[in-house]
Amino acid sequence: MSPNAYVVLSAILFSIGLLGFLIRRNVLIAFMSVELMLNSANLAMVAFSYANGTLLGQVGAFFVMVVAACEVVIGLAIIMIIFKTRRSASVDDQNQLKH
C-alpha cells in the first residue's frame, strides 16, 4: 500500500488546521484547529510507520494523543476561566500581553 494518499490527506488537514488557527477569532475554533494539526501529524506518522514497517511512528502517535489529551484539559480550563472573567471568546480580545 502506498502512503501517498495518507500523507496528502495529512497535509490537507494540517493546512486546514493552520489556516483555521491563523484566521478564526473564536478561541474554541482556534483550539480545535490546533488539535486538527496535531492529529494530521499523527496520521502522517502512522502512515510513515506503516510504510517503513516499524512501530516507532505508531508509538509516537500514542504519545502525542496522551499529551494532547492533557493539553485539552488544561487549555479548556483556561478558556473557561478567561470566558468567565472577560465574557469573551475572541482571541483578539486577549491581547494584554504585549510590549
Partner: protein
Amino acid sequence: MVSLLEIVIPVEATGLFSYAWLMIAIPLVVSAILLLGGKATDAWGHWLGVLGALGSFVVTAVLWIQMLGAPVDQRAVHVPMFDWISVGSLDLKAALLVDQLSILFALLVTGVGSLIFIYSVGYMAHDPNRRRFFAFLNLFIVAMLTLVLADNYALLFVGWEGVGLASYLLIGFWQERHSAALAAKKAFVVNRIGDLGLLLAMFTMVALFGSVNFTEVNQAASSAGSGWLTALGLFLLLAACGKSAQVPLQSWLLDAMEGPTPVSALIHAATMVTAGVYLVVRSHSIYELTAAASLAVCIVGVVTLLAGAWIGSTKDDIKKVLAGSTMSQIGYMMLAAGIGPAGGAFAIFHLFTHGFFKANMFLGAGSVMHAMNDDTDMRHFGALRKVMPWTFITFAIGYLAIIGIPPFAGFYSKDHIVVAAWERGWYFGVLAIVGAGITAFYMTRLMMMTFFGTKRWADGVHPHESPKIMVGPLVVLSIGAAVLGMILNNSIQHWLAPPTGGHPHDAALWEIPWQGWVTLLVVLVGVAIGYLMYRGEISFEQPHTTNPIVYIGRNDLLADKFNDAVFVRGGGKAAAGVAAVDDLLVDGGVRSTATLATSLGGALGKLENGYTRSYGLTMVIGVVVVGAVLILGRLA
C-alpha cells in the same frame, strides 16, 4: 670582581642565636599590648614601651657579645624562622641573618632607640596620647629590626614598608594639625616611589637568579649580564633614595620634622633614613660588578651632601637645619657606599657615629623647644647657654662631632670618607671637603643663634633646663658622640670586612692624612665665617631676601615647586589626556554597544503586539524557514 671565596656563607644558628627572633618579638608584643590594651594601659604604657626597647637591646647585646667570642668565619649566623612563600620554583623562607653588619645596626637601633624612648617619657609627659606614641615607637623598632635582620630582600621589604608605616604614623602623630597630616602623607607618597625601585629590584632578582636571598644573590651576581646588573643597581639606588631622602626624592624629610622631636631623632636622623645606606652596603656585590650604578650612587651622595648643607645653611627652624644636615650626612654615607668595598665599612662607621651625634643634637633641640614653649625658630632663641647648661654642653659635643673636630666621633668617620672619596676621584674628594666646610658653617650658625648672642625670647617664654629624664639620655649620647670615633676607628674595618667585602688597612688614631688636615682647615674656615656672620644682632623676624641662594635654600631647593609643576600638574595633564582618550574610545565603544542593544530591542519589541494569531504566524514562518534550511542543506 668578587671571587666566590669572599662571599660569606652564614652558619646555622645554635645556642643563643636560635633565640635571635626575640629581638623582634619583644617590641612586637609590647606594641600589640599597648595598641590592643587601649586606655587601660595609659597609666604605665610608656614604661612598658621603654621596657620593650630595652629588652630588645639586652637580647641584641647578648648576641653581640656571643658574636665577639666566635671565630671570624662563624660570625654570620642564619636563623630560620618559618616557611613563608612557596610557589613553583620560588621557595621563600622567613629567616634572619645575624652578622657583623646587622648586629651593629641592631645595636644602634635598640641602643639609641632605648635612650630616645627614655627621653620621650619626659618629652611627651603632657601629651594625652603618650601610650599610642610608645606603641608606634615599638612598632617602628619591630619594623626596623626586621629590615636589618632579614636574610632576604623580601623580608627586608616587609621591614622597609613597616618603617614607612611607622614613620607615617609618627610624623602625623599630632594629627589634629593639618600640616602634620600633610607632611605624613607626603613622606608616605614619596617613599612609595622608592619602594617601586625595591620591588623592581626584587622582580629582577627573581627573574635573573630565581632567589631574593642575600647569600644566593651575592653568589649568583657575577653570572648576570652587566646591563641587568646596572639596572638592578639603579633600582636599588632608587629605593635607597626614597628611604634615605637623597636627591631627587629628598623633599619629604624636611616636612617630616612636623612629628614629635624624639621621632625626628630616632627615625629621621639615626635609623630609618639610613636604611638606604644599609641596602646599598648589603648589595655591595652587585655594585662591585657595575661601575655605572656605583658611580650613580656616588653622584647621588655628593649632590645630596651639598644640597642638604645648602638647605641647612638657610633655614631658621632649628629642626629643619638638623634635617638638612641629616640629608647631607647621609649623602656622605651614600658616597662612601658607592665607592665600593673600600668605602662600605666607612659608610657604616659614619652611619653609626652619626646615629649618636645626630640623635644627641635632635634631642638637644627637643630640649630647647621644650624650654621655649615648642618654638622652633632660632631667631627667637639666643643666650640659652647659661639657662640650659646641660643641653648646651651635650649639644656642643654633638656639634664638635658633626663638624669633625678631633678627637670627636665625626672627625674619624668623615675623615675616612673624604680620603676614600679622594682616592675614588679628586673631584669627589674636593666636593666632600667643601661639604664639610659648609657643615661647619651652618652648625656654627645654629650654635650662635641658639646658645650665644642676646636674648631674643618671645614674650612670656621662661626657658629652664629640662628634667633629668631628658638630660640623662643626652649625656649618654654625647659621651657616645665624643668617644665612639676613637674606639671604632680601627676595629670597625676589621669587624665589617666580611659582610662588606672590604680589605681593612690599619688606621692609626693620631695619624691624620693630608686630606684630613685640609678638611680640618676648611672646617675651621667654615666655623670662622659662621662666627663672624652671626655674632652680631639677629633680627626677630626673618628678613626678606633677594639673594637667590638664600631664597632657593629656604624653599627646600624649590623641590616642592618642581614636583608640583612637573609631577602634580604634568601628571594631572597626562591623566586628563588619558581620561579623554578613555572617554572617546573605551567609553564610546561601550556606549554605542548599549545604544545598539536598546534600538534593536525597541525594534523587536514591536513584534510583541499581543495578538495570538501574529505569534502563530511568526512560528509558522520560523518553522518554514528552519525546514527550508534543513531541506536545502540536504540538497546542497
